[in-house]
C-alpha cells in the first residue's frame, strides 16, 4: 500500500507519455513551429478536443466513479468560457476604442473610454451600459478566479439543495438538465448582460498580442494539453485512494456507505463542485480557440453529448473518458465538416451532415448493448483480462458467487 502513486497507476504514466508525444508531434507539424502539415484551424480543433477530453475526465469522475449522472456539466463549461470571454472581449474592445479615440483632438477621459467600450459591446442588444456582472471585466486575475468560482459556487448551491434532499438517479439527472436549460434560456435574453443570443465573439484575439493565429493556436494547444495532463493526474489521484473507494461505494450502494459512517451528501457535493470547477477551466481554454461563445453552447444537448462520449469511451476508467471524447468529437468534426463523401443510393443521397447524429445515436445504442465497457474495454483485451462468456450461467463451485463479468477467463 505504501507504493508511490505513479507506480500504482501505470495507466497515468502511459497516458502522460502518449499526451506528450502527441503534443510534440502536433507542434512540429504546425504552421508556426514546423512543417506546416497541420493547418492552424486543425490545430485549434485538436486543442478544443483536448479541452473536451478534460471535461470528459470530470464527467467520468462524477458519473463513472460516483454514479451521479449529471446532465449539467456543459453549463459549467460554458460559464467558464463566458468568464474568460468577458475579459477577452473587454480588453480587445478597449484597444480598438482607445486607438480610434486617440485620433480625437481632445484626449478622451477614462469614463469616455469605458462608455465607448460599452457602446461597442452592447450596441447589438440596444444598450451601452455595463451590467454589474462586468464589474471585474478589466481584471484578468479576477476573471480567471471567476472561471473556477462561478461554476464552483453554482454547483455547490445546486448540489447542496439536491443532495441534501437525497435526490438520486434519474431524478437528479432531470434536475441538472433543468438547471442547464434554465441557464441557457436566461442567457438567451438580451438583458441577461451577456449579449443574449449574440454571445461573446472575437475571443481568438488575445489583447496586446500581435503574433499571428498560427502561434496563438499552438499556445492554446499547449495550455490545453497541460490542463488535461494536470486534470488527469488530479482525477487519478482522487480515485486511487480511500476517497476513490468511498465514491465507488456510493455508486454501488449508497445506503451501505452511510451506515459505515460516511456522510454521502458531503462526498457528492465535494465531487460535484470540484468537477464543475474543472469543467469551468476546460471551457475557459476551449472558447478562446473556438472564438465565439453563445447560449446555444450551454443547451442541454451538449451535456447529453458529454454523457455519450463518456459512455462510448468507457465509464469508470479515466482514459476511457478521454478516448471517448477525442474519438467522438474528431469523428463528429469529420462528418459534420462536409469532409465525408456523400453516399449516393440512387433514390436517396445520404448527406453525413444530416445523418451524423443518427449514426452517433446508433453507435451509442450499440455500445450500450454490446460493449458496455466502451472503447476503454479494448484495453482489457491487451491486458488479457477477458471475462468468460457463459450467458449468465453460474461459474461453478470453485468460483463461488463470482458474477460473470468479474470472472477472468
Amino acid at each position: 500500500m505504501q507504493r508511490s502513486f505513479l507506480i500504482k497507476n501505470p495507466s497515468v504514466m502511459i497516458f502522460l507519455a502518449v499526451l506528450t508525444v502527441f503534443t510534440i508531434l502536433v507542434t512540429f507539424s504546425s504552421e508556426a513551429f514546423g512543417a506546416g502539415i497541420i493547418s492552424t484551424s486543425f490545430v485549434k480543433t485538436l486543442g478544443k478536443t483536448l479541452c473536451l477530453a478534460l471535461i470528459a475526465v470530470a464527467m467520468d469522475l462524477v458519473w463513472g466513479y460516483a454514479g451521479i449522472l449529471s446532465l449539467g456539466h456543459f453549463a459549467f463549461f460554458g460559464l467558464g468560457g463566458y468568464m474568460i470571454g468577458m475579459w477577452l472581449m473587454y480588453e480587445r474592445t478597449k484597444e480598438i476604442v482607445a486607438t480610434s479615440m486617440a485620433q480625437n483632438p481632445i484626449p478622451p477621459t477614462a469614463q469616455e473610454v469605458v462608455d465607448g467600450i460599452g457602446t461597442q459591446i452592447f450596441g447589438v442588444v440596444g444598450s451601452s451600459e455595463f451590467p454589474v456582472i462586468w464589474f471585474f471585466a478589466d481584471s484578468l486575475f479576477m476573471q480567471l478566479l471567476l472561471v473556477v468560482a462561478v461554476p464552483g459556487v453554482l454547483a455547490f448551491v445546486f448540489g447542496w439543495l439536491a443532495f441534501r434532499s437525497r435526490v438520486t438517479g434519474v431524478y437528479l439527472s432531470i434536475l441538472t438538465q433543468a438547471m442547464t436549460l434554465a441557464l441557457s434560456l436566461y442567457l438567451f435574453q438580451n438583458d441577461s448582460g451577456l449579449r443574449g443570443n449574440n454571445g461573446l465573439s472575437g475571443l481568438q484575439n488575445l489583447p496586446g498580442v500581435t503574433a499571428s493565429q498560427d502561434y496563438v493556436s499552438i499556445w492554446f494547444f499547449w495550455a490545453s494539453a497541460l490542463a488535461l495532463a494536470l486534470g488527469y493526474i488530479f482525477a487519478a489521484w482522487i480515485v486511487s485512494g480511500k476517497f476513490g473507494s468511498v465514491i465507488r461505494g456510493i455508486r454501488d450502494n449508497e445506503a451501505r456507505v452511510r451506515f459505515l459512517g460516511y456522510s454521502v451528501e458531503g462526498y457528492k457535493l465535494f465531487l460535484f463542485t470540484v468537477t464543475a470547477m474543472i469543467a469551468g477551466v476546460a471551457g475557459a481554454l476551449y472558447y478562446p480557440q473556438a472564438g465565439i461563445i453563445n447560449p446555444a453552447e450551454i443547451a442541454p444537448i451538449a451535456s447529453i453529448y458529454l454523457a455519450v462520449w463518456v459512455a462510448i469511451g468507457g465509464r469508470g476508467r479515466l482514459y476511457g473518458a478521454v478516448l471517448g471524447a477525442v474519438f467522438v468529437s474528431l469523428v463528429s468534426t469529420y462528418f459534420t465538416g462536409g469532409q465525408a463523401p456523400d453516399i449516393n443510393l440512387g433514390f436517396y443521397r445520404i448527406q453525413w451532415v444530416d445523418w451524423w447524429t443518427i449514426l452517433l445515436g446508433l453507435s451509442f445504442v450499440l455500445v450500450t448493448l454490446f460493449a458496455p465497457k466502451g472503447i476503454g474495454g479494448l484495453f482489457d483485451l491487451i491486458a488479457e483480462r477477458r471475462t468468460p462468456d457463459r450467458h449468465g450461467a453460474d461459474l461453478g463451485p470453485d468460483q463461488g458467487s463470482l458474477r460473470e463479468r468479474e470472472a477472468e477467463e
Binding site: K242, V246, G249, R256, L402, E406
Partner: protein, 246 residues
C-alpha cells in the same frame, strides 16, 4: 446494570399499518441479545429506527452515558456514534478488494477532506491484517470481494463492522444461507465480539439462537411479547401460539 441503548416507547406507522407499537427495549454495554419473532413483527423496522433509516412517529432512542437522543440524527452521524449494522443480504462493495472494503471501514476520520489526504498508516494495515485473520480471509485480501463465496461475504461484512469499532452491533440474520461449519464460525465471531460490546442479533433459526446462549427478546406485532432465556420464552404459551406453534 447500566444501559448503552434505551429504546423508549417508539411507534411508527406505514400507511396506516402500525409496524412498531410502543416498543421499549434496553441493552447493556457488553451484552449479547437475540431478537426473534414472526415475519412482520417489526424486527427490521426496529433496526431501521435505531440506525436512523426510519424516523419514529413517537418515542426516544437514548444512547450512551450521556443519554443522547438518536432520533433525528442521520445514518452517518449515528454510525459515527458507534452503532454498526449488518444487513440481511451481505452488502459488501463487490467491485473492490477485500482490503479496500476493510480499509474503508476501519475507524478513522470520515470527513471528505481527511479521507482525500488520508494515507494508510502501519497501524491501519496491521488492523486490517488482524481483522482478516479473525474472519478467515487473510489470504483473500487482494481478491475482489465479488469473487468471495456467500459465507465469506457475510464474514467480510462482519469484519467491516468490527473494523468500525462500534459499541453496538446490529446483526440481521447472519446465518442465512450458511453451511453448518460457517454457522459455527459466525457464532464464535459474534460471541467473541459480545465480550467487549453490545451485540443484537435478529435471527429466525432457533438452533443458531440456542448456540448464542443469550437473553432473547420476542417481538410480535411491533412490541415485546416476552423476554428472558431461550428456554423461558419458548415455554411461554403466547410465544408458542404466535410464533413457534405455526
Amino acid at each position: 446494570m447500566s444501559t448503552l441503548l434505551e429504546v423508549n416507547g417508539i411507534s411508527v406507522t406505514f400507511d396506516g399499518f402500525r409496524a412498531i407499537n410502543n416498543l421499549s427495549f434496553n441493552i447493556g454495554p457488553a451484552e449479547m441479545r437475540a431478537i426473534i419473532g414472526p415475519n412482520g413483527a417489526g424486527k427490521t423496522t426496529f433496526m431501521d429506527i435505531v440506525t436512523g433509516k426510519t424516523r419514529p412517529d413517537t418515542g426516544k432512542v437514548l444512547w450512551g452515558e450521556l443519554s443522547r437522543n438518536l432520533v433525528g440524527m442521520n445514518e452517518a452521524r449515528i454510525a459515527q456514534e458507534g452503532i454498526g449494522r449488518k444487513f440481511q443480504k451481505p452488502t459488501v462493495f463487490e467491485d473492490q478488494t477485500v482490503e479496500e472494503n476493510l480499509l474503508m471501514a476501519v475507524k478513522n476520520k470520515r470527513g471528505a477532506f481527511s479521507v482525500l489526504f488520508w494515507k494508510p498508516s502501519d497501524a491501519d494495515m496491521n488492523r486490517v491484517a488482524e481483522l482478516a485473520a479473525e474472519i478467515g480471509l487473510a489470504n483473500e485480501l487482494m481478491r475482489k470481494s465479488g469473487e468471495l463465496s456467500h459465507g465469506q461475504k457475510q464474514w467480510l461484512e462482519i469484519g467491516m463492522l468490527l473494523a468500525q469499532e462500534p459499541r453496538l452491533l446490529l446483526v440481521d440474520e447472519p446465518a442465512a444461507g450458511m453451511t453448518p461449519e460457517e454457522r459455527e464460525k459466525t457464532t464464535d465471531i459474534l460471541v467473541e465480539a459480545a465480550k467487549t460490546r453490545a451485540v443484537v442479533v435478529v435471527e429466525h433459526d432457533m438452533e443458531f439462537v440456542r448456540r448464542l446462549n443469550c437473553k432473547v427478546t420476542v417481538l410480535h406485532e411491533g412490541s415485546v411479547l416476552a423476554e428472558g432465556s431461550l428456554d423461558h420464552v419458548t415455554s411461554n404459551q403466547q410465544v408458542i401460539d404466535v410464533y413457534l406453534g405455526r
